[in-house]
């Protein structure tokens, strides 16, 4: 009986492993596609040819053309670079800043903890996207400014997570042992705290990639993100808004690209969480 259960569990584990590898492969494919976008484009994504405006999908233009006669497929491929890498850079930045601040707060406590946590409270008191809209409007257009605006509202959750984890870890026996062994504060953080909180932070960051991609696209859709002629999925959807009922491919192409890419990164985050077994890891600690 036990042997049968072990077999089932082993089979499940294998399926999960294959699923994780498949999703990871898809995510890597998206990243490679974005990295080498300029080599994959069949046409110059910014070249206008008004004579070819609004061609339906098929023939020479697989996904059709927009109202300036630009090839939609080329723009979607190039748009991946802006949309995906902006989101990745943003997540990396907020994750690093938020985690660093959270660890410092959790480890040092005192006035620093008070000040940073109250700042977190202030940021979290506003609806995220609304605050980002206000910041983006203040900074002006451009994908960089949109990323900064989202960064301003996104770091507190990492700070809170890292602080909580650090405060828990600080009470653990192995930290006390390391302290007795003569580790300095920097060594404690580097050798013992950061490796132990990396799992939850990594999963949160992976989950955030899709969210950030959506929010960046949202800001661009509202005209607060990428500036013309930059191909960015949100602004491409916005450009095609008025054509939605008559020439739907102009909006559906970038919309599908956002949907698929966000789905891949969200599935990857879920698979990563299962693989790292975050809940049980917390219990073990």
């Amino acid at each position: 009986m036990r042997g049968k259960m072990d077999k089932i569990l082993q089979k499940r584990k294998t399926v999960k492993e294959i699923y994780f590898i498949a999703i990871l492969a898809l995510a890597i494919l998206v990243l490679l596609g974005a990295a080498f976008a300029q080599y994959l484009c069949p046409y110059d994504p910014n070249a206008q040819d008004l004579a070819l405006a609004l061609q339906p999908p098929g023939g020479e233009h697989l996904l059709g053309t927009d109202r300036y006669g630009r090839d939609m497929l080329s723009r979607i491929i190039v748009g991946a670079k802006v949309s995906v890498f902006s989101a990745l850079t943003l997540v990396a930045a907020v994750c690093a800043v938020g985690t660093a601040l959270g660890v410092l707060c959790g480890f040092c406590g005192g006035w620093l903890d008070e000040a940073v946590m109250r700042l977190c409270d202030m940021c979290l008191a506003f609806p995220g996207l609304v605050l980002a809209l206000a910041v983006a409007a203040l900074l002006g257009g451009g994908i960089e400014n949109a990323a900064i605006a989202l960064g301003v509202v996104s770091w507190p959750k990492y700070a809170r997570l890292a602080r909580g984890q650090t405060m828990t870890l600080k009470q653990e026996d192995f930290i006390a042992a390391a302290r007795l062994a003569g580790d300095s504060a920097g060594q404690l953080i580097r050798r013992h705290i950061l490796p132990n909180l990396a799992g939850p932070v990594l999963v949160m960051a992976a989950l955030d990639i899709g969210t950030m991609m959506m929010e960046l696209a949202g800001l661009s859709f509202l005209g607060l993100g990428a500036l013309p002629p930059t191909a960015e999925w949100g602004s491409m959807m916005s450009d095609g808004r008025t054509l939605f009922q008559t020439k739907p491919w102009v909006m559906l192409g970038p919309g599908a690209a956002i949907f698929l890419t966000v789905a891949v990164f969200n599935l990857l985050a879920d698979a990563l969480r299962d693989r790292l077994d975050i809940r049980s890891m917390g219990n073990e600690m």
Binding site: N46, A47, Q48, L50, A51, A53, R67, Y68, G69, G141, G223, L227, P228, P229, R241, T242, L243, F244, Q245, T246, K247
Partner: protein
């Protein structure tokens, strides 16, 4: 039996009278009293908003006069015919006594919605308030004194104003009852077929019919004007039946309504999409740069493809159909010529990045525009590609807050905008408001001695042929200096559902809701 016969007769009489009782004059006029459903009409409009400086229906405030006249609240002394000729409206006629003195006679049968009769004193009070609070009107009308006597108003101007009647036909010239005043919401009492009863800026305006309208009782009892600034929302509102008609529909949505369920009313207008060069910017001070921009923009492609044929390529400030419109020679579309002009002026791409440089500085044009006119961002992006082809990089700033940037001449090089260049049916308006040293909208700080001199001549010319000749010469100066680049004129359309009649597009874009409006159930 006889007793019963009397009873039967009384019953028959009562049955005969009963249906007739509904035909009484007052009762039929008021649907509530007659028990009939009121005839209602809802218009969706993209332009009735603060962004377009139309926050209410007070004609003495900014450009709100457009809302006042468009929605049938106010009327002017004179109006434009379909061919943009001046014709009497609240006035019956005029006499030019001398170059400074105009005697205007008014209709006898007009009342404001407040109940006050329209007479010369009421018009005088209205115009006095107008020139007191409205800078543009004060500059246009140049009123020195006014005398009111019965139905005769005598206006004396400080200078000869050949276009006085045209200016009085501007929406700011809507005659309102100043004794009734202007409410906090910006509601006024006019003489039009509809009376404004409530208003929430940026949301909706409610109107009811003016039963005592001098032009005959309107057939629509209640009207709601909804501000719908998003083109998609407007499209779906008309599709779903939330609105009966739409003004400012995106061209891309036109095919959805080109069927028997809807009616289009279209007309060419003098609304021009044009570029204004900033003469305070070192880049656009360079004549070669201005000429290159003027010759590299593909106006025909813009009109045929991006405007989907809902416009006309512009040669000058005014449509060619206008008596003062044709006869100018604009820069021809010539990208190769533009490249050569830039090369000759020392703008060359020495580092091979596709952008020309001179004295180590890249040729980057800051293009300022605004998104509320859907055509302008399209023009910006198509110009960006066209200018990119000749080595000019374009940074687009499409913002609703254009006025902040315009007030800082260091923040832009080219300003693309849209305006009705001849709303008064006369060419003087455009030059006076945009091109002269004294113009409030001469954003680029353009100056031409010759233009100033011709403007003075136009200000004193009463003969229309002479005014047209001057207008053509003045436009040619603007074109030769490449101070303005006129890209296209707009074909304006209003779309209504089947069953709506009397909603007709007018070349001056002023008269939308009139007493001719009829609504039948779909």
């Amino acid at each position: 039996m006889f007793k019963y016969r009397r009873g039967i007769l009384a019953l028959i009489l009562a049955l005969c009278i009963l249906p007739l009782s509904g035909c009484g004059g007052d009762a039929s006029a008021d649907p509530e009293q007659s028990g009939q459903e009121p005839v209602t009409f809802t218009l969706g409009d993209v332009s009735f908003s603060a962004e377009h400086d139309e926050t209410d229906v007070n004609p003495h405030r900014g450009y709100s006069g457009w809302a006042c006249i468009r929605y049938g609240v106010g009327e002017t002394l004179f109006r434009y015919s379909d061919t943009m000729e001046i014709q009497p409206w609240l006035a019956t006629g005029y006499t030019l006594i001398d170059p400074l003195t105009w005697e205007i006679t008014l209709r006898q049968d007009v009342r404001f919605t407040s109940g006050r009769a329209l007479d010369a004193q009421a018009v005088k009070e209205c115009l006095e308030h107008l020139v007191e609070v409205h800078d543009r009107a004060r500059g246009d009308l140049m009123i020195d004194t006014m005398e009111a006597e019965g139905q005769t108003l005598t206006i004396r101007t400080t200078q000869p104003r050949p276009a006085l009647l045209n200016y009085l036909s501007d929406p700011y010239g809507c005659i309102i009852d100043m004794a009734w005043g202007i409410s906090e919401e910006g509601i006024v009492s006019g003489t039009g077929p509809y009376q404004a009863v409530s208003l929430v800026t940026g949301q909706e305006l409610h109107l009811v019919k003016n039963k005592d309208y001098w032009g005959g009782e309107p057939q629509v009892d209640e009207i709601t004007v909804l501000t719908i600034s998003d083109g998609n929302t407007l499209t779906m509102a008309l599709q779903s039946g939330q609105i009966d008609a739409a003004y400012g529909m995106p061209y891309a949505s036109y095919p959805l309504f080109e069927n028997e369920g809807y009616t289009f009313s279209s007309t060419p207008t003098s609304r021009a999409f044009f570029l204004c060069m900033n003469f305070e910017s070192p880049l656009t001070q360079d004549p070669a740069v201005r000429q290159a921009i003027a010759t590299a923009i593909d106006k025909e492609g813009f009109v045929n493809t991006l405007l989907e044929g809902n416009g006309y390529v512009a040669s000058g400030a005014f449509p060619e159909e206008f008596s003062f419109g044709g006869g100018v020679t604009p820069q021809a579309y010539d990208p190769q010529g533009a490249r050569e002009v830039l090369e000759a002026a020392g703008w060359v791409d020495s580092d091979g990045d596709g952008i020309r440089e001179k004295d180590g500085k890249n040729l980057v044009i800051r293009w300022l525009t605004y998104p509320s006119r859907q055509e302008l961002p399209l023009l910006a992006e198509s110009a960006q590609a066209a200018l990119g082809e000749i080595g000019i990089d374009v940074e687009i700033n499409s913002t609703a807050d254009c006025s902040s940037y315009l007030s800082d001449p260091g923040s832009w090089d080219v300003y693309a905008s849209a305006m009705i260049t001849a709303p008064t049916g006369d060419p003087e308006y455009f030059f006076a408001s945009c091109c002269l040293d004294s113009s409030v909208a001469n954003h680029g700080g353009y100056h031409s001695d010759r233009l100033e001199q011709l403007a003075q001549e136009m200000a004193a010319a009463f003969e229309s042929g002479e005014r047209s000749r001057l207008a053509v010469e003045m436009q040619q100066i603007l074109l030769e200096d490449n101070a303005y680049v006129f890209c296209s004129h707009l074909r304006m359309s209003m779309i209504s559902r089947a069953g709506v009649t009397g909603l007709t597009a007018h070349p001056c874009d002023f008269y939308e809701l009139t007493a001719d409006l009829r609504v039948e159930e779909p």
